[in-house]
């Protein structure tokens, strides 16, 4: 009997890499912690290479149908590798100054990434759940890693308790769907639901719980309560991690569960997503206005942005899914810059997480002010940044699917949101700086963060290749 391990090669690489970092770190003293860091970075590089080498345009199901390797999985995996790698690059000195530049941090980040990969490639409720738990467990621990501080411990506790509740929802929903269809494998559930004739009420009840769990992981209203507290309380480097790579995993969960397993119950989940989407975009944007803490403001902005992802997704056709996917990529790319800037501006014993800390950034450093400006423009959805096309595609998809009023709500909410994004720009360019200390950063951080910000502009001017890629990948993965 032969076992085809090639489709899960990236997972194997990351698992081995994490174990190697764990073992090597045992023999390193504090001056040589950077070896663990570079091992983690090279693991990501090898994993990306393995993904590209085993690229297969067909949908392959392996490990007794527990895993599916399609182009969506490959694309989302590559995106998460890139995001985690950038997170590590940006937060290196931040972690070092706070005693977090340790082997455990890299190991837990790699295991969280492994969880995301398992979730992204899941073809069974079982693997999907295990991937989610692996990712969440590592993230809970990462939030609490900074010992002796009250805020991270509180954030980790809230994240843990509410995350456990969401896992409970998910399991309960999955067990009901299992009861209705008699299988855990996503493609078989999909066929069973499409064929109909199963216990309709049981299926819809299961769907409600599953949608709640997904909304919780995305941070959509009314399941958003944990987002501001966790984003605010966690060390900024960890906030940067939580706000970026796991979003791809959450999107994969949305796609695999609603776009895959429950595609036959489309009419039912469309209505639920409409409610989640409307609440998220309005509440997220309105509450963000009242925030004085930058991390909290970006957390509410995250809630609103997830509302837009859902708005695209609920169109439930190829335009909708690819718009949502493009939106997610654009949002993560922007988040990397906005949270990356907070990490960059923080120094020993100082967190640049208040809006006032951005005052007069232009006089301190015109370039970094411009980088932050690009991120804010992209979040506000202004041309010529990537955020504009992301919003445009999502709204188009909603209109095309017949939800014109939803698109109108989306536009009005975006206008409200533009206020607080532009307030950041005003603070940076038209106010006098309170704090005139020079901005210091490692050369690699500066180059990559600048490149990342310019990518917002580049994809804003030339969005077609990325848009096309999202659509092609979804069609090739047989979501239609």
């Amino acid at each position: 009997m032969t076992v085809n391990l090639l489709p899960i090669l990236p997972e194997i690489v990351v698992l081995i890499g994490a174990s190697v970092v764990l073992l090597v770190d045992l023999f390193l003293d504090d001056d040589r912690r950077h070896i663990g860091y570079w091992l983690a970075q090279s693991t990501l590089l090898v994993a990306a290479w393995a993904t590209l080498r085993t690229l297969d345009i067909d949908v392959v199901r392996v490990m007794h149908d527990l895993v599916v390797d399609d182009l969506v999985a490959d694309l989302l995996r590559l995106c998460s590798f890139a995001a985690v790698s950038l997170v590590l690059f940006y937060s290196r000195s931040y972690l070092a100054l706070r005693g977090l530049f340790r082997g455990e941090t890299f190991v837990l980040i790699l295991f969280a990434l492994l969880g995301m990969q398992v979730l992204i490639t899941a073809n069974s409720f079982l693997t999907l759940y295990l991937g989610l738990e692996l990712m969440s467990l590592a993230l809970y621990a990462l939030v609490a890693m900074q010992r002796g501080e009250r805020a991270p411990a509180e954030a980790a506790m809230k994240y843990f308790v509410l995350g456990a509740l969401a896992s409970g929802f998910l399991l309960y929903g999955m067990s009901m769907i299992y009861g209705a269809t008699g299988t855990l494998e996503i493609d078989r559930v999909s066929r069973a639901v499409l064929a109909g004739g199963e216990n309709e009420i049981l299926l819809i009840f299961g769907l409600v719980f599953v949608v709640s769990a997904i909304a919780f992981k995305l941070g959509a209203v009314p399941y958003h309560m944990w987002v501001p507290d966790v984003y605010h309380g966690a060390p900024t480097a960890i906030t940067l991690l939580i706000g970026t790579a796991p979003e791809f995993a959450a999107f994969a969960m949305l796609l695999r569960l609603l776009g895959g397993a429950l595609v036959g119950a489309e009419v039912d989940w469309q209505g639920m997503l409409v409610v989640l989407s409307v609440l998220s975009v309005t509440l997220g944007h309105v509450v963000a206005i009242a925030q004085v803490n930058l991390k909290r403001m970006l957390a509410y902005s995250n809630i609103a942005n997830m509302g837009y992802v859902l708005m695209g997704f609920l169109a439930a056709d190829v335009t909708g899914y690819s718009a949502a996917m493009f939106y997610m990529v654009a949002y993560v790319l922007t988040s990397l810059v906005s949270f990356g800037m907070i990490v960059l501006l923080s120094r020993r014993g100082f967190e640049a997480d208040l809006l006032d800390d951005l005052r007069g950034l232009n006089t301190r450093s015109p370039w970094w002010a411009f980088v932050m400006l690009l991120a804010m423009f992209s979040l506000a959805g202004m041309p010529p940044t990537i955020g504009f096309y992301a919003k445009l595609l999502v709204l188009q998809a909603a209109v095309k699917a017949g939800f014109v009023w939803l698109a109108v709500v989306g536009v009005i909410a975006a206008l409200i949101g533009a206020f607080y994004y532009l307030r950041v720009v005003k603070l940076m360019y038209f106010d006098e700086p309170v704090d005139r200390s020079p901005i210091e950063a490692r050369a690699d951080t500066r180059v990559l963060l600048s490149a990342n910000a310019l990518a917002l502009l580049l994809f804003g001017i030339l969005p077609q290749p990325l848009m096309g890629l999202c659509a092609v990948v979804l069609v090739q993965s047989q979501f239609f």
């Binding site: 764990l22 490990m63 455990e104 492994l114 738990e133």
Partner: protein
Amino acid sequence: MNFQTFIFYVFAAILIFAALRVVTTRNPVHAALWLVLCFFTAAGIWLLLQAEFLAIVLVLVYVGAVMVLFLFVVMMLDVNFDSLRSKFRSYVPVGATVGALVLLEMALVVIGSSVAGDAAPPAPVGRNTKALGRLIYVDYVYAFEIAAVVLLVAIIAAIALTHRGRRESKYQDPGRQVKVRRQDRVRLLDLPAETKGE
């Protein structure tokens, strides 16, 4: 009533008696030992159902590991059981209500279900240890490995969050102990000689 049914009733009677003793006995160590008896008789009932692997696992894991841990906790933590027991009667209404509800639900399931009773148990296919092994290590090996990683992450996270560094801990380094030389331990002092009678 054949012999198997007879054995079942014997085990069931012991199980119920032991379970009652767990909550009524005064000495917490005895309660833990009664719970061990519960597990043994439950394992016996599983054996009657031809689930020999689960029966052995119940004995090995629960009796061998979990109960030992229970006993340690009971013996090491100084819990005042008398003060806990003083409110024993005040819990009776709640306990009785919950117990009655569970009993009612079980009765409804057993009476209302068409599966229980009339359907014959499926004929055993080979040994179920082998069947379970196939499931875990062949069909679900990927999920099994990921579950193992989840446990590993739990260990790492627990240690990373609670370990306070090894600076204050006292430990022996056998290498240094072996390499010790006479000069490190014995110091010869050149004391002026004392003469008797001065």
